[in-house]
């Protein structure tokens, strides 16, 4: 039977890898190609690479860098950042990217998702939604963000997911802005809400700080993508850079909800 996916998420900023906190304070964590090689050796389930400069600088994906990453990558690769046109998606798929992530361009024009799905198949279209808990007094729920959380929109996240599913999204990634880099666990309440209504694969990103956090997500929502950045690039409370990934035995424990993981 299908297994949940444990997906390292790497952020690209100024050509290097960084890890952010709350979508800010990018800390340099190394060379992207080197990181891909390490995740190959560790047999990661898949890899997500997001270029956090492209959209805010209004530039295209860095096809040269992505081609190098894709060539090195021996696991499925999802790329996001600066994708606004179908032709870019076709080019990315042809250089070896399995899934192309869109966010701000799809939010601005949801028909883009349909156009991409028609061209490359819906299995290769990932819609990333950056969500943040509403900050204003007397207003509950979540708001949607784009442009590295510099822009915010007042929309209902669940209806938006439903709209993107209809438009042809093959996967939805829900990325929690508040929990980014905090390493205190996923937003399980949101995860449960999203998973109960979604009929495409969903992946949650933001907040994982231990293998127990991955296990908590999987035990709550079942077959899911559990993505994480900090968890797989930092070690210890001083956040020393060290790339890690669960072993095959640890993965089995995560998938079977073994509690000893949670006591770390």
């Amino acid at each position: 039977m299908l297994r949940p996916r444990i997906t390292p998420c790497l952020l690209i900023h100024n050509g290097g890898l960084v890890k952010t906190k709350g979508f800010a304070e990018p800390k340099y964590v190394g060379d992207p190609i080197n990181a891909v090689r390490i995740f190959n050796e560790k047999e990661a389930d898949e890899l997500m690479v997001l270029d956090i400069d492209a959209t805010i600088k209004g530039r295209e994906p860095d096809f040269k860098l992505i081609a190098k990453l894709a060539a090195e990558c021996r696991m499925p690769l999802c790329y996001g950042g600066g994708v606004t046109q179908v032709e870019q998606v076709q080019r990315l798929v042809n250089i070896g990217v399995e899934k192309v992530a869109v966010s701000s361009a799809a939010i601005a024009r949801p028909a883009l998702v349909t156009e991409i799905a028609d061209a490359v198949g819906r299995q290769s279209v990932t819609v990333v939604l950056d969500v943040r808990k509403r900050r204003r007094l007397m207003s509950a729920g979540y708001e949607l963000c784009t442009h590295n959380a510099k822009k915010a929109y007042n929309v209902d996240i669940l209806s938006l997911i439903s709209e993107f599913q209809k438009a042809g999204a093959g996967e939805i990634v829900v990325n929690s802005v508040d929990r980014d880099g905090m390493m205190k666990g996923y937003d399980l309440e949101l995860a449960a809400q999203v998973k109960s209504m979604a009929n495409v694969p969903v992946t949650f990103l933001g907040g994982a700080g231990s293998l127990g956090d991955l296990s908590d997500l999987v035990s709550l929502v079942g077959i899911v993508g559990a993505a994480a950045g900090s968890l797989f690039v930092f070690k210890g409370k001083y956040r020393a850079v060290l790339i890690s990934y669960p072993t095959s035995d640890q993965k089995n424990m995560i998938f079977h909800g073994t509690t000893e993981l949670c006591n770390k």
Binding site: L2, R5, A70, G96, A119, G121, Q123, S124, P201
Partner: protein, 205 residues
Amino acid sequence: MIRIVDYGVGNIQAFLNLFDRLGLEAKRARDVDDLVDASHLILPGVGHFDYAMQGFNNSGLRVRLEELVLKQKVPLLGVCVGMQMLADSSDEGVLPGLGWLPGCVHSLTGKPKDDSLPLPHMGWNELKIQAPSPVFPSAEAESPQFYFLHSYYFSAKNRSDVVATANYDFDFDAVVRHENVFGMQCHPEKSHRWGEQFLRAFTEL
């Protein structure tokens, strides 16, 4: 020489890298001359069935490949949509398939009885070997795990052509073989050691 059929669709580089790592000589085949030395053929494919078929039909490679595969019996492996193209037809498109491996391609929609299961079928799943085959030589304690990413599945006409199935609340044909023609729905080029073992075994045929 292993030749990866390059008709403009699919992840050719990933195969080249993997064969390089395995120490096996592989090159892409863009035109008929590239096929002269082909000992094994890989037919990759992604995206919409008609888009892939159209690209293949317009590549100028089809006639020569038919000769190699159907007459000279050169081993060929179709991967993902490349596998689906081997079928007679696909529900996804209107163009006919190659018909090199008897079967039809159907949509996964509505197939898993548990409708809480998401589609497309995305992620790592295990193969259940149905028939002894040189492509799965070692009987490991652990079932082989492969990465899947698809919305349509291959259904072989002859059950004797089914090498392995996978389960997503229903069993579907994940690896098929008819004489020298092989098809694999999952992605061996993205399936770590399981994929490497499989591709190595295929090239030893």
